[in-house]
Symmetry: C2
């Protein structure tokens, strides 16, 4: 298990901002909780004021394939281009569910996804990602605030 520090995060987030900066995103959808700190940093770096959040939960652990329910409190009507931000595409289930959900709900909006980490075994590949992950990552936001 590799500790992912704030210093690592700073370098990678600046790279990610550099990658997506020429697209004119009007808003960021943060996939909670993992994508919240990254969304904040990207919003500052890209000068985007609108940051909203979305999250998923397993709704039936009894079925073979885990099913995800999307909890959506986003209000995106009238927008054209929205950046969806999460920390990692691991299994990829979360980001896949979120992107499908948003695409269906807002047919006129172009959604572009980005993460810091991507696993090759993920069922979904983000449009932009920075590092390939091969093991479990111990993110500073998960480690540093445990009581």
């Amino acid at each position: 298990m590799k500790y992912y520090s704030y210093d690592d995060f700073k370098i990678d987030t600046l790279s990610l901002i550099q990658r997506v900066k020429d697209s004119q995103f009007e808003a960021i959808v943060a996939v909670a909780r993992g994508g919240l700190t990254l969304s904040h940093a990207m919003a500052e770096g890209l000068d985007i004021r609108q940051v909203q959040s979305i999250r998923t939960e397993l709704y039936d652990k009894s079925v073979k394939r885990d099913k995800l329910e999307v909890f959506d409190a986003c209000r995106l009507d009238g927008l054209k281009k929205v950046l969806v931000v999460d920390d990692i595409a691991d299994s990829g289930d979360t980001l896949k569910a979120v992107m499908e959900y948003l695409g269906k709900k807002y047919e006129d909006i172009e959604f572009v996804s980005c993460t810091i980490f991507y696993k090759k075994t993920s069922v979904y590949e983000p449009h932009y990602w920075i590092n390939e992950a091969d093991g479990w990552i111990d993110f500073f936001w998960e480690r540093d605030f445990l009581r």
Copy 2:
């Protein structure tokens, strides 16, 4: 202007978690953008999965007293106790507007506010705050990701 680093933030956030941990909050409302990184850290430390966001904007700069409009993407129905998180109560206008708005919209929910910084000149004092601020604070999330 004082640079507020991630290391400072880690110490203060752990104090803030300690202060509010005995209340059983079911959700966090993050005041975007300033409260997003803190909300993520608090959500991890308090083991709260629901993090939603809210933001304000000036809607008429011509009037003497600046007026704030609240942009609300929260769905809080059915909850009882919600923590509202922002980085600083500076003028206090934002947090005052958000707390009044939420209190009116959800009469059955108890909203408790917290920030890391509080200025004595603020028109609103959060229920919990850690440091008194006397000048401009250069938060790491505003500084470290500028291109």
